[in-house]
Symmetry: C2
Subunit: 320 residues, 2 copies
């Protein structure tokens, strides 16, 4: 068995702060979404890892709401021995002294009912490696938030990107352009002419203490980006949730949700790593949309609102 | 450019017979399905590979029918230079003289509208490798047919398996048990407690001329298995297509179709290889079901008809 409490006090304190942050964020985001939904509440599933592996998580899921057809906000706090598989994936040399790892994060995907309200995804995580004496060897942060609309409202895209640019600029003006570019590069259906999953947002990984930014910097950045969900997304929901839609709008949403499924199951590294290393399947696949269509060779009418969305996924734009 | 016609006469003749077989099978299966559907016909898309790569295919798709909600029967006849990627996947040593490859096959997935009619999939293919002088270096056959019901009718399962056992036994009584086992081992959602995609069928690969069976044997086996589609599937459609179903039955079908999507996009080697090596995306993803549901932690009522199906997917049975 692994005793995660053997680790040194200062790293324990930081870990504890991070865990408190993700639980608090989960709680406040779920409350904000419940308030706007007005009908349905999140259900909670607390789970523990099996087979003597350490930690577990709290999966919170909302389904069949007024506003949210399906959505989840998950936290997980997990740790274990560094396996050969993990060494491969994380490029840790076999000779190095890392023996245990620790990871804690929050992730969320929200699929609204109304096709004029975009889907949102975010994930913020901290990863640590320790040696046999419980000494911290390495620590990094990763995260991001991205938007997947079914219809393009340019003002919403600008608002969303502007929110994260503003947050990032408060830390370092170099960050937003870099993270925006990362995001456009990551959420790509390469098997569909490099069509993006949506209109992007920010995405970063392996951020650690270096000559420019210390651990505290990356910690606070993740906190601030995580909390910005409310400012970035809630006004868009408010503005679009009562838009009248027809069957054709819903059809198109379900076709686009098909692309979401394709990205998550074919390309998303986190999803595939989780599924292939005995992660909790139901929590990982919470991200999949509630109803989906796959139609052979579906093409929107050139010049239509549907086509406009597709074009912006094929050619990402700078929004701010 | 590759000149596929440089190859020797006897191999050209066999290749030509195989191509005629798959086109003829495609035609006769589509006709049989159109007849039973009574409303909708297959649409044809003839396509050619791009970027100077050789060959192409004929994709035939039926949608929004009386009986078939979505289905496709595809043939492809393709060839090219042996790439590094292909050497890796096919385990061809770098030093070996194979310079060009040739592949021709037929594949099909049929998704009926009525949840009491099962989905079926089959695929039969021939693969060849040639050296720089156009001499055949290697040739093998692969294929299989498997059934994915949403409700379990034991008599249908027995009929389906009995049909392929009968076909295989006509060639060699050792084959069916082996191919049935292969099939159960292949169509597995390992991320869902090794739940199978359906109730299986037969599956085989890399069958080539050896001390027991010559090329002609494997060619004729593929032909006979391919043609057995009619006997194996059509009687089941006839028996079930007019069964009255309700919303709950359709809901369950769409939940199970979600598992079909998961298998095809996460685990199916053919799908992933095709998508990651610039195959024709629309033809490959023709296999995905028309409407699908992903619900968090959906569990059928213990002892229900839905649960009975799920249990048989978790624990494959011997049907004959």
């Amino acid at each position: 068995m692994i005793d995660i409490n053997q680790h040194k006090t200062e790293t324990k304190a930081l870990r504890q702060q991070w865990i408190e942050f993700i639980y608090h964020l989960q709680d406040s985001i779920c409350k904000a979404l419940e308030e706007i939904d007005g009908k349905t509440k999140f259900n909670e599933d607390e789970w523990a890892r099996v087979e003597g592996k350490g930690g577990g998580g709290l999966t919170k899921v909302i389904q069949h709401g007024n506003v949210f057809e399906k959505g989840g906000v998950n936290t997980s706090v997990v740790y274990g021995k560094v396996s050969r598989k993990m060494r491969e994936v994380l490029h840790i040399p076999l000779s190095s002294g890392e023996t245990t790892w620790f990871a804690a994060g929050i992730s969320s995907v929200i699929h609204p009912l109304n096709p004029f309200v975009p889907t949102i995804h975010f994930n913020y995580r901290m990863f640590e490696l320790y040696n046999v004496d419980g000494k911290l060897c390495d620590r990094w942060f990763g995260g991001g938030t991205d938007l997947t609309p079914y219809y393009l409202f340019e003002e919403d895209a600008v608002h969303f990107h502007q929110t994260y640019k503003h947050v990032c600029d408060g830390f370092d003006e170099k960050l937003y352009p870099l993270f925006k570019h990362n995001c456009d590069d990551y959420f790509v259906n390469s098997h569909r002419n490099n069509e993006r999953r949506g209109i992007g947002g920010i995405f970063y990984d392996h951020k650690k203490h270096d000559e420019n930014h210390n651990t505290d910097f990356w910690f606070r950045l993740a906190q601030t980006c995580g909390k910005a969900f409310i400012d970035a997304y809630i006004p868009i929901i408010q503005k679009r949730k009562d838009t009248v839609y027809n069957e054709q709008n819903k059809y198109w949403q379900e076709i686009r949700r098909g692309r979401y499924v394709e990205f998550n199951l074919i390309h998303d590294k986190g999803t595939l790593f989780g599924l292939k290393t005995n992660g909790r399947t139901e929590s990982i696949l919470m991200s999949l949309p509630p109803t989906v269509r796959f139609e052979y060779n579906y093409q929107p009418q050139p010049g239509s609102e549907e086509d406009k969305l597709q074009q912006v996924c094929l050619q990402p734009r700078d929004w701010v």
